[in-house]
Amino acid sequence: EAASGAHSAWHIEYWAQYFNVDSRDVVQRTYLAVVPKDSFLDVYNANPDLWGTFWVPTSVIFAMFVTASLSQGIAEALAGTKRQYDFTMLTFAVATIYTYVFAVGGFVYGATKYFGSSPGLMECLSVYGYGMAVWIPISVLCVLPFNWFRWAMVAVGFALSGFFIMRSVNQIVSRSNGRLHKAIIPLLLAAHVLLVLVFKLKFFSYS
């Protein structure tokens, strides 16, 4: 881990070390998360950052809220009913996405640490944070009002983000040799399926 100097976690300088990235680095890391060809964690661990871990899920929240309300508006305009918007969709998105990223990411950290790997909290959270990035283009595409198309897009998003997350978690888990903690990977997969279903049914479902 990068040296934290003489500052404790209560000083802002401590956290500033996790924001020591340039725009170029963030773009590169986001690209590696969306197109999981090369190893994300190798690039990330050279210089861990929290910018993407926070702002990528926030952008996903915003993108899903905008596209969901847009498709709701289009659907109601086509059907001729009066336009009513649902503000609770924003609060629901905030709760869902932040909970998923930080709770499941934290669970990965806790479980792998308990079973003897040496995970970093920042890298576990970043896998989940950056892993949300694929949902931004998917949610834009899901504005098109064809249900089969939306299911297809959601499947693509599930595949890409799931593959990225599983491969990164596997990389973390494989640092020690125990077999037991490979059991958490089906759990994470189940959590991911749940998230994707929630996305589809709540946000991508207006016809």
Binding site: F19, N20, W55, D86, F87, L90
Partner: protein, 241 residues
């Protein structure tokens, strides 16, 4: 009603509240703001409402060059000065020509006012059963959002003061508040969409102008992007109402 001739020294100044005057401070001619709430604490003869003449002191007239004693001035002057400051800062945001630097000293009255008015207007525009949720949501979004965006800028190494940045972001909400008022009055999408788009662009460019002094070398995008996200999010909520 007592009539006070043009006295330079008031014997009643002895309650210790305006000690800089001592025994010989020259005082300016007192403007007579009849009907205002002026008066002094402890002035036993002027106990009736708006009975006495009002007094204002100019700093040039005081011995030793003390600041003017704002404790004795009429309340309207005090309030007027604060409103003047808020108004000057708002104009600085809305018409940033020249280096007025009104935003150097921060205050949170203006941001609170714009945040509240935006939240109230949005709750009027919302469907009835969601009105309070919308009010809470918009208010929380603006408050927490400006703090988070400021924190992000500071963490990236920018040289901004926390409260000054929060103050600027709050003042830059003013075009959005005006746009939401327009949307309240004219419910048609053909009006709201361009008005909100213009307001969003205005807010973003005003706050980026402020950020220019923060010295972020390769990270400008990382600091500017959350600001854009913040204002576009608010703008979107206005549009879909």
């Amino acid at each position: 009603m007592m009539s006070r001739p043009e006295q330079l020294i008031d014997e009643d100044d002895g309650f210790g509240l305006d000690s800089p005057f001592g025994s010989g401070g020259a005082q300016a001619k007192r403007p007579d703001l009849s009907g205002s709430l002026g008066g002094r604490i402890g002035d036993e003869r002027g106990a009736g409402a708006a009975a006495g003449p009002q007094r204002t002191y100019t700093s040039g007239a005081l011995p030793g060059g003390h600041h003017s004693n704002t404790l004795d001035e009429p309340i309207l002057t005090t309030i007027g000065r604060d409103f003047g400051k808020v108004g000057r800062k708002t104009i600085q945001v809305l018409y940033p020509k020249g280096r007025d630097n009104a935003l150097q000293e921060w205050d949170l009255w203006g941001p609170l006012f714009f945040c509240l008015s935006l939240a109230v207007i949005m709750s009027f525009l919302a469907p009835d059963q969601q009105a309070s949720a919308v009010f809470t949501g918009v208010f929380a979004l603006v408050c927490i959002g400006s703090c988070v965006v400021t924190l992000n800028c500071k963490l990236l190494g920018g040289h901004v003061s926390f409260f000054q940045s929060v103050c600027t972001l709050g003042y830059c909400i003013s075009p959005m508040a005006i746009a939401s008022l327009v949307c309240l009055l004219a419910h048609r999408i053909v009006v709201t969409l361009p008005v909100v788009a213009v307001a969003v662009g205005w807010s973003i460019s005003a706050s980026i102008g402020f950020l220019a002094g923060a010295q972020l070398a390769n990270r400008r995008l990382l600091a500017v992007y959350p600001i854009c996200l913040f204002y576009i999010c608010i703008g979107w909520i206005i549009i879909i109402s």
